[in-house]
């Protein structure tokens, strides 16, 4: 894949977040908007992921989570995540990031302490998985910008949907 300087990406992301903060007064709205933008990105990026990694459908959610952490993060953020804290029935896990290229140069001022700066990533995962028929919930539970020791995203499979014939027979 063609590569560029990661700092351009990081600074552009930062400037975009700054623009959102200026456009919306409410930090919660910014969090939502970041998630929504991520969702849209996920819907586009999934095809590149599938086409370039030549992935067929994953056998279960565990495999999906591993692929996101090892292949997806590598491909698009040039870093990897580890998958831990599975629940008993294998529908919920944590993705742990130690290196988050979105947050270089960043320090959150006090009045923005509720800002989920990297929330875009949650949206990307949600959007990408929606395209392969998996509805998930994804959110940050630990954030180094807020003083935690790692970045931790909690990923929860809500349902796997199916495809039915979209037209009525007598249509």
């Amino acid at each position: 894949m063609e590569m560029i300087n990661a700092e351009i990406f990081t600074l552009t992301y930062g400037s975009m977040v700054r623009q959102l903060v200026a456009d919306y007064e409410d930090v919660e709205e910014v969090n939502k908007q970041l998630d929504k933008m991520g969702f849209n990105i996920g819907q586009r990026l999934i095809d590149e992921y599938l086409a370039k990694s030549k992935t067929q459908r994953c056998s279960d959610f565990r495999e999906t989570a591993e692929k996101i952490a090892k292949v997806g993060f590598k491909m698009f953020l040039n870093t990897t995540a580890s998958v831990t804290n599975w629940n008993a029935d294998g529908t919920e896990c944590s993705l742990i990031l130690e290196d988050n290229p979105l947050t270089d140069f960043v320090e959150l001022p006090e009045q923005l302490s509720a800002l989920k700066y990297s929330n875009l990533l949650c949206g990307v995962i949600r959007g990408a998985l929606e395209m392969v028929n998996m509805d998930v919930e994804c959110s940050f539970v630990k954030d180094m910008l807020r003083g935690d020791d790692v970045y931790e995203m909690r990923l929860k499979l809500l349902s796997s949907s199916t495809e039915s014939y979209p037209f009525k027979d007598d249509d």
């Binding site: 590149e48 086409a51 067929q56 459908r57 395209m131 199916t162 014939y165 037209f167």
Partner: protein
């Protein structure tokens, strides 16, 4: 001239892109309208997969025929060859369906459709900021690249 028509469907059955190089029999004499033609083509590919899954002698399936399936479940197919034309088919795990009709003498297009998906669709459509996933699109660079590729393959003079 080997290629005839080309369709991309999203997973909801909407035709996102259509191009025809040669269509000797006009749509009017066939499906009637463009929309109807899209619907029939999508229906043909859909039914092909559903029917094949139903009669599949190899893999047991607990599902009733016509029941909703997950993308990639059941039987897939690469092409349908008829006396007059051949239909080449690729379904991505995200449910995009690429359909190319050609002369019946044209060989396997599995890799070529994969190329169209990975290199043309991803690069020139998915990355275009003006593209909305799932919606119909008409981007000059994609159309140009598709034509060029067909020429490279010797399917278009």
């Amino acid at each position: 001239m080997g290629c005839m028509t080309f369709y991309i469907f999203n997973r909801k059955g909407r035709c996102q892109y259509y191009h025809e190089w040669q269509r000797l029999k006009p749509i009017k004499q066939g499906a009637g309208s463009q929309d109807e033609d899209f619907k029939l083509m999508f229906g043909l590919c859909w039914s092909m997969r559903a029917l094949a899954t139903a009669v599949d002698p190899k893999n047991p399936s607990k599902q009733q025929m016509g029941a909703p399936m997950r993308i990639g479940d059941g039987c897939s197919f690469n092409s349908i060859k008829t006396s007059n034309f051949k239909l080449h088919y690729l379904e991505s795990p995200s449910g995009l369906k690429f359909v190319l009709t050609t002369d019946p003498t044209v060989g396997s297009m599995v890799e070529q459709l994969q190329y169209i998906y990975a290199s043309l669709f991803v690069e020139l459509v998915a990355k275009n900021p003006l593209y909305t996933p799932g919606d119909a699109f008409l981007f000059e660079p994609f159309s140009a690249a598709l034509n060029k590729y067909m020429r490279t393959l010797g399917l278009l003079s």
